[in-house]
Amino acid sequence: MPDYAIEMLEITKAFPGVVANDAVTLRVYDNEVHAILGENGAGKSTLMSILFGLYDADSGQILVRGQKVQIRDPNQATELGIGMVHQHFKLVHNYSVTENIILGKEPRTKTGDVDLRFAEKRVAELSARYGLDVDPKAKVDSISVGMQQRVEILKILYRNAEILIFDEPTAVLRPQEIDELMQIFKRLKAEGKTIILITHKLKEIKEAAERCTILRRGRCIGTVDVRSSSEEEMAEMMVGRSVKFKTDKVPAKPGKTILELKNLFIRKSKGLYAVQNLSLSVRSGEIMGIAGVDGNGQSELVAAIAGMLPVEKGSILLSGKDITKMSIHDRIAAGIGHVPEDRQRFGIVPDFRLDENLVLKSYASPAFSKNGGILNMAAIADYGKKLIQGYDIRAGQGPATKVGSMSGGNQQKVIIAREIELSPELLLVAQPTRGLDVGAIETIHSRLIAERDKGRAVLLVSFELDEILNLCDRIAAISKGEIVGIVDAKDAKERDIGAMMAGFRSAARAEKEAE
């Protein structure tokens, strides 16, 4: 009989209105990499939060190395040798790596001071042992996101964790950093650690994990051996139906240039450029993707094209017309649609009705306003009904539903419907599927392809490289506010784009030479 590091038996946890975990059983062998797969809201994070002592389960029991335990808080979990690397790091930015790691468990000298030198030595040892390559003296705000994640790993290793939980660890990483993380997993395993990996990305599971437990809507669907199951099988278990991985699309028929950016400079805050000397063009009938890690100027770029941020130098042309100084209102009229990155903040008015949100940009058009400024409520409600049907928006009270009460996926459908119905020449789309489930993602992807096929120019910003590769016809990699290289999607290699996202121009050049 194999040894289990963790057994969570028949765990049930209900929140008002929803059962997050419904008699879920998870058994993790000692010294294995065990993945937990599920969509957003499937109950992965709840299950792990129970294991880490953040929540109490309503029923069920937890066994750690065969011993029945009650985990009331994270300190107790730490004592049991359980550590967690959270999706959002919990680091003090102006502290050094070592200071962050020892925080709360500082070694003392005889006089009672913090023994930083001893601590740094210990951190360096740990780092070398697991091949983490972390500089113990570096300030946290000066190191990359990938390095910060390693600091989090060291933090729990320093506390002698034997079981390491990773919550969506690759969400913030570049492709190269993801590869390196996979190597770190191997090293940790070789050193005898047990790893639980929470993710919704099948590729990573295939690469790193041995077994995989799949959750769907709070229920445990099953545990499979990763080597003997295909990605399609696991995806089907996750979603509950068969899934298309690749969005069907015919080759693009690009036409004339719609959007042209010339040597753009956009300021982030005083003194800093978010975007510098950026030139790019998007043609009708194509999807141009901007690949890059969050925070490299994508958000500012899209905001500037939409008119929400001023451009310092350079120009923006829409179908040859200079719109650099145009107001947001006039840009909308000129034919720019915009699916904003922060949909809660910009995309919707949560306390407005669904139909009011659908006409947020077109309320003043003759169809919805008559006699110089009186709204035609009936026409707006009819329009709402039409779009609810056409875009499969699920809303309890029809056009009168408050958008704030709808799910994230349906809110996004409202925004997509509104922007597409403006039938803009140029559609700016930022992070259209973040946090959405597979069904909503499929709908939104096929809508974007359809817009392309109608001859619209689409500019897509996404931090998910897979989404970019799946949808785009051309891909521009952005790093530190500059376009590092532009490649055709059909001969794009993930590795090269990853290198460009890290700012290596050589890869871009190599790509060009290959053409």
Binding site: F15, N40, M308, S327, G347, L375, G409
Partner: protein
């Protein structure tokens, strides 16, 4: 376990219905007021009979009926409703117009000037005075809106400061009028007054006047502009989510300025209705009339809607005009202030409850991240 979650959802539901909250808060205020009256050893029925007399003119203690009380009640409510509309209109655009008092004073002063110096044409004179008051109040509010929109000057600070400017400027300017002393100007010509013989007759000599129609019209205008027009759509969007309004191409600067102009105009009208309706001469203000500040409470209880504000204004007007009747029944008149104060406190507690509930809901949402689309 089950019961507690049921209670929670009941509380949730109660707190999520604005109307239900307002009604229960008012009832709670009356309950506390009643308990207080009983606690100091007085007969609470006297309080209610005084209120009944205010509302219907019926004096149950003596078995007489005089409709004049109803007229006085309505007259006391007029400026409260208008100042409530002022506050509510700004609030719908996400602004806190604490300056209704100043806009009221400016409107009152402008109306008094036009009353004394305007053309004495029957029917036109008082209309011009009302118009001047609305314009003056609109400018007084609009300046603040413009400062807010253009330079992000806090409208709360700006309006409070302008309240003082309005007050002292009004005193100084009014005293410049020949024949004025430190408390009054010469009398208004009859053409400037809002009093109307027919209304006067119908209400048995109360001070109720044409201002009644100004208020009814104002409520209708408020409702129509906010709910039915393009401008209202823009203002509501700006009030509920300024970022999204901006993103949608709505001119937020223009919206904030127009909202403060309209809010100021309502308060200015309140000034005119008091000046021309309840007085036959111009006043050199010795202190604040406080209608502007009370308007904040009126709008709060009225949930910033036209109908709600009207009802809340009538309620607060009833409490004010019931005071003398209460005193004659040995009920301390301060009870009415306690009741209105409690109503405001309770309704503010709703805001606190909301914050707690929102936080809880957000935490829950964060815990569950995004649920399956359904």
């Amino acid at each position: 376990m089950k019961r507690s979650s049921l209670n929670k959802s009941l509380l949730d539901r109660l707190l999520s219905s604005d109307k239900a909250v307002s009604i229960s808060v008012v009832l709670l205020g009356f309950l506390c007021g009643t308990l207080l009256v009983v606690a100091v050893g007085r007969n609470a029925s006297g309080m209610y009979s005084a209120m009944l007399q205010t509302l219907t003119g019926l004096d149950v203690t003596r078995g007489t009926w005089n409709i004049r009380y109803v007229g006085e009640w309505l007259n006391a409510s007029l400026p409260l409703i208008l100042c409530g509309l002022s506050m509510a209109f700004a609030a719908r655009t996400g602004l806190f117009n604490i300056g209704a008092e100043g806009q009221y004073v400016v409107g009152l002063t402008a109306a008094q000037f036009v009353a004394l110096y305007g053309p004495q044409i029957p029917g036109l004179h008082w209309m011009l005075a009302l118009l001047a008051a609305a314009v003056a109040g609109g400018i007084w509010g609009g300046v603040v809106g413009w400062l807010k929109a253009k330079f992000s000057v806090s409208e709360v600070v700006a309006t409070i400061m302008l309240n003082y400017v309005a007050f002292f400027a009004s005193r100084w300017l009014t005293m410049l009028i020949p024949g004025s002393n430190t408390y009054r100007t010469p009398s208004f010509p009859a053409t400037a007054r809002l009093s109307n013989p027919l209304i006067n007759q119908l209400t048995n000599g109360s001070r109720l006047n044409l201002g009644l129609f100004v208020v009814i019209l104002s409520c209708l205008v408020f409702w129509f502009v906010i709910e039915k027009t393009k401008l209202g759509f823009e203002l509501r969007a700006t009030g509920l989510n300024k970022d999204a309004a901006q993103y949608a191409g709505i001119n937020v600067t223009k919206g904030i300025t127009s909202s403060m102009i309209i809010a100021g105009a309502f308060a200015g009208l309140a000034g005119a209705v008091v000046a021309l309706g309840s007085f036959s001469y111009g006043r050199v203000l010795g202190g604040n009339d406080n209608y502007g500040f009370n308007g904040i409470a009126v709008a709060l209880v009225g949930n910033n809607t036209a109908g709600g504000t009207m009802i809340a204004g009538l309620l607060f007007g009833m409490l004010a005009s019931a005071q003398p009747l209460m005193q004659s029944r040995q009920i301390p008149k301060e009870v009415t202030w306690i009741i209105s104060g409690l109503v405001v406190i309770f309704i503010s507690l709703r805001a606190a409850f909301r914050i707690i509930l929102d936080k809880r809901a957000k935490r829950r949402a964060a815990e569950l991240k995004e649920r399956i689309d359904e």
